[in-house]
């Protein structure tokens, strides 16, 4: 066991830091107050991701066969950490390189690959993920947005909600219902967002302008060739493609940076000598470090070629707790941060408060730990 980075890994991280220092604008910190899905950041990301692509830094973790550099899971982790801590200048494009691209490679038709891969590898396109619905959140398999095959076209009717990036996305990775057979009745369609019949409405939120949306589908018609995989194969495909995403965003990394920022503000004000504030800050740091180490144990599994199982829910829950602790610390001790005094801390807060909800609520993680890690007898249904 070795808890240090190799020289190569350190150099890789440094090259990312150098790139960011060179390519982020001077007022980036203020700028990144715009959420990762905001119009401003989306526009910025299109240009920025193009530069990343030119420098081999957009998808270095992809296998060589699909155009990547074949770097390992640790490098993917380092890439995710450095981008996230910088305020995610890739905007929503991180999804492209983390799972949409590799999933297209694996399950897409030749036509779909030809159409969608190049814009991804050029860093020039934005996707959104149309999974959740008003009545299908944690219980995703109960989703109802209907797609009916008529004369070689799918006609889609229904509604999605909480869809990040929908406002500016080019394409939607959409889950639809094609039969009533719960999980086996769900089918993926790749839907261009400019298709007639799609209405996107922003949801005003605590987490930044333009972040989450409702998306309405009224007789939206796409050709049968927009189907991704077979009818009813959606659950299998998303289980596969999100397998490596189970760890989620390296939130502990930004949380720790935000904590350090808060402490330095307190130090300057001479308010970091009391035992209570010091102990509270240390507890936050410990939770971030623990979340990180629990996540790293799973990255190691990927390095060893092992599948990441339900233990990812345990690491995810540790991450949620660390985010919560830091968000609460900042509000309690540096309250002015959320009122404009520190764009960075406000940015962290807005990203941090969703940790226990987005991509699977915290309580659902606890359910998974109980059933699949501890293997407790199941709850009656």
């Amino acid at each position: 066991m070795d808890f240090d980075w190799t020289t190569e890994q350190q150099a890789f991280r440094q090259s990312l830091k150098d790139f960011l220092a060179k390519n982020l604008p001077e007022d980036w910190e203020k700028f990144s107050e715009h959420g990762p899905a905001s119009p401003a950041l989306t526009r910025f990301a299109r240009e920025f991701c193009g530069k990343l692509a030119d420098n081999g830094m957009l998808f270095p973790h992809w296998p060589k066969e699909i155009g990547g550099e074949g770097l390992g899971p640790w490098e993917q982790q380092i890439l995710a950490e450095e981008m996230w801590i910088a305020g995610e200048p890739r905007g929503g494009q991180y999804m492209n390189v983390n799972w949409i691209g590799p999933t297209l490679e694996r399950y897409g038709t030749e036509e779909q690959k030809a159409q969608y891969l190049k814009p991804i590898t050029d860093g020039a396109t934005l996707w959104c993920q149309g999974f959740s619905e008003p009545d299908a959140g944690s219980d995703l398999a109960s989703l109802r947005t209907r797609a009916e095959l008529k004369d070689g076209n799918y006609v889609i009717n229904g509604q999605k909600i909480w869809t990040s990036y929908a406002g500016l996305a080019d394409t939607c990775f959409l889950l639809t219902r094609t039969s009533n057979d719960r999980k086996k009745g769900i089918t993926i369609l790749l839907v261009p967002m400019d298709t007639p019949g799609i209405t996107v409405r922003q949801i005003p939120s605590l987490i930044g302008e333009g972040d989450i949306h409702e998306v309405f589908f009224d007789d939206v018609t796409v050709p049968e060739s927009a189907r991704f995989g077979e009818e009813g194969q959606a659950w299998e495909i998303i289980a596969y493609s999100l397998r490596n995403e189970r760890l989620g965003i390296p939130r502990f990394y930004l949380a720790r940076a935000a904590l350090d920022r808060a402490v330095s503000i307190l130090k300057v004000r001479g308010e970091f000598s009391g035992e209570i504030v010091r102990a509270e800050a240390a507890r936050c740091a410990a939770m971030c470090e623990a979340a990180k180490t629990a996540c790293y144990a799973l990255v190691q599994k990927r390095v060893d070629g092992l599948a990441i199982g339900p233990e990812s829910s345990s690491a995810r829950y540790a991450v949620v707790q660390s985010e919560r602790a830091v968000c609460e610390f900042v509000v309690e001790y540096v309250p002015e941060a959320l009122a404009g005094a520190s764009p960075y801390l406000k940015m962290h807060h807005q990203r941090g408060i969703v940790a226990g909800i987005a991509s699977g609520a915290a309580e659902i993680q606890l359910n998974i730990i109980a059933s699949e890690v501890l293997e407790l007898p199941r709850e009656p249904r």
Binding site: D2, W74, E275, R278, A279, A282, Y296, Q300, S314, A370
Partner: protein, 305 residues
């Protein structure tokens, strides 16, 4: 970065598993508060398991793994200080090793008995002496802790001074505390999981009630975090890592020490069920080194100065 167990580590842990098999079960209806075994202690020493830290290919992480493994047993053996702290003070110090803080001499001392090496850590550096009968006051017969404990009646005038900084010993003490807690937490979690899966009320296992499932799941998260933080702190030798590991260990211990008894109802109040053999070691660990506040302040010092 490499968080896999290497071949040597796997082999050692497997070996300990087979060696400790006879001690893994709890005697039915055992009514003692603490279980100890001189034979097991002897076997561990003879097989060199408490000396792995000094072996170059093994080191502190392996020692922490050994300590974690041994702490899972219902029997308590003095492994944490011997395996993780003794090597940095003096590998020849006679066992058991008892660590005490200079300013905190009134608490119960684990494994203290005549012949034990008592190491005193504090402002006057790191000093040690061999305990003799007249320096020891026994704890009452039915002390609740699941460690053998006694009290020190005072310190001798002439102690042996060791050439190592007190902070270094405190750091490694925290690693030892976290590694031991990790094993105790793991074993207690296994035990409560089994109990709640089997015990039925309202016609179904208690473990099917979500209110209890979530409490167990949360302690699983804490247990996993303590395990990894203990190993990390052993591996990096960083004082911040050590203090954070010990802090999380004490937080988890505090929670588990209440929850697991609570979730067992009346059975949790008995000596019939072995739960106390883990939780009442964890409880004593929560008092060590100034408790959670002590670790948190040490971590803050190490991180932010």
């Amino acid at each position: 970065m490499d968080l896999s167990l290497n071949g040597d580590q796997t082999q050692i842990l497997d070996f300990i598993d087979s060696l400790t098999k006879p001690y893994a079960g709890v005697p039915m209806h055992d009514t003692s508060f603490a279980l100890t075994s001189d034979e097991l202690d002897c076997e561990l020493v003879q097989n060199g398991f408490l000396d792995v830290m000094a072996v170059e290919e093994l080191g502190a992480v392996t020692a922490a793994l050994v300590v974690e493994k041994l702490a899972r047993l219902p029997v308590s053996v003095e492994s944490a200080f011997s395996a993780l702290v003794r090597p940095i003070i003096d590998p020849e110090l006679p066992r058991p090793i008892c660590l005490v803080e200079e300013g905190r001499l009134t608490g119960p001392v684990r494994f203290l008995k005549p012949g034990a090496s008592v190491v005193v850590v504090g402002a006057n550096g790191v000093r040690s002496f061999t305990a003799s009968a007249e320096m020891i006051a026994p704890a009452q017969e039915d002390t609740l802790y699941a460690y053998p404990v006694s009290f020190l009646t005072g310190l001798p005038n002439d102690m042996r001074k060791h050439d190592i900084a007190a902070d270094e010993v405190l750091r490694q003490w925290r690693v030892a505390l976290a590694a031991e807690a990790a094993g105790l937490l793991g074993a207690a979690l296994d035990s409560i999981t089994t109990y709640l899966s089997e015990r039925k009320q309202f016609g179904r296992p208690l473990a099917t009630f979500q209110a209890l499932r979530h409490r167990l799941a949360e302690t699983q998260v804490a247990t996993n975090c303590v395990y990894w933080m203990a190993l990390k702190a052993a591996g990096t030798g960083d004082p911040a890592d050590a203090a954070m590991a010990a802090l999380l260990a004490q937080e988890a211990a505090k929670r588990v020490g209440y929850d697991y008894h609570q979730l067992m109802g009346g059975m949790g109040m008995t000596l019939e069920h072995p739960m106390h053999l883990w939780t009442y070691r964890l409880k004593l660990l929560t008092a060590e080194l100034g408790g959670r506040g002590g670790q948190a302040l040490a971590a803050a010092d190490a991180i932010w100065g």
